[in-house]
Symmetry: C2
Amino acid sequence: MRNCISCQIKAKVEQRNEDLNAKLAFLTMPQPASFSDVVLFADDDDEHPVPVPAHKAVLANRSPVLRAMLDNEMKESLSGTIKIGDVSYDALRAFINYLYTAEVCLDQQLACELLVMSEKFLVQHLKDFCQKFLVSNLNLDNSLSTYTFAHQHNFKPIIDAALTQITASMDKLASQDEYTVLKERDLGLLLEIYEAYFSKQADTTMYI
Amino acid sequence: MRNCISCQIKAKVEQRNEDLNAKLAFLTMPQPASFSDVVLFADDDDEHPVPVPAHKAVLANRSPVLRAMLDNEMKESLSGTIKIGDVSYDALRAFINYLYTAEVCLDQQLACELLVMSEKFLVQHLKDFCQKFLVSNLNLDNSLSTYTFAHQHNFKPIIDAALTQITASMDKLASQDEYTVLKERDLGLLLEIYEAYFSKQADTTMYI
């Protein structure tokens, strides 16, 4: 066994990682159905909405907004039912599961829905996770729609990252379907892209 | 900024550690009192036992034994009350708190009590934690009492570590108070120490 200092540090860090993972596994709750004392419904769900069972204690611990809804004998606490507006069943299920496990398998659509939910219910950990995903998932095809989405909800880090992506391929901007849609709906957003491009150009010129 | 490979690896590991710590902070529940649906009492407590509030879902998730007590309409589930025998109030409180946070500040006495509880309720994560603490906390003064305790409950790693500690200072063995007590109560245990010492001696001789 090698006994150099860097090996010892590596072994220590790996041990620390192992300990943290074991703690995480211990604190994760993969079966939120047992002993449930509250159910949530997605308002966007069809005529026969499927209930998502949960526990008041867990919801209140993870989200100050849910805590406020459940505390103080609000109607949600008394009825044991929480209706969540503007969200799909799948997103609600993923949201609740995240509150129990801090895990979610994201795609572009789900990340957008969960980001909005995490903002609404002040779940910072999930908000950071979705923002990081959307930034790292930016590409030529989705940068304009991601930029529009981020603008609607004022998610600054995503706006900045999307602008960087868009202004790096300005020749392809006007040919995108999303561009035509945006031209009819929000000229201001397109203007901001052109301004950002020329402001970047000016900065680059200054440093040459 | 240095950009060598070892710096990059270090930064990656630190980022991973930070992510794990953030997840842990998110999943930890420091206020188990709200929305409680079960209370626990320590049987060793005085005439007016202090209730320790908890949540069935959390207890059932962390301990298969508590799950069995709470499932299937057992009397604990119906009454919402669980009595825990042979334990102090402080240990019960620390045990429940551990189930919510995976954290506890141990001393020798508490570690012994929690180790017995974790064995009884099959909470492996806490059992490992207490065993590691007791092994790392072994010294000349407590090795004999720790050895006796570990033998009572058959905690093999602690028995082995305590034997190593004791047999390293055999000249001080017979002068300890615990030795006199043990001599009256369990000669077999003392015999095992002498046997272990001479078996180690024989091994050492073989390698010289």
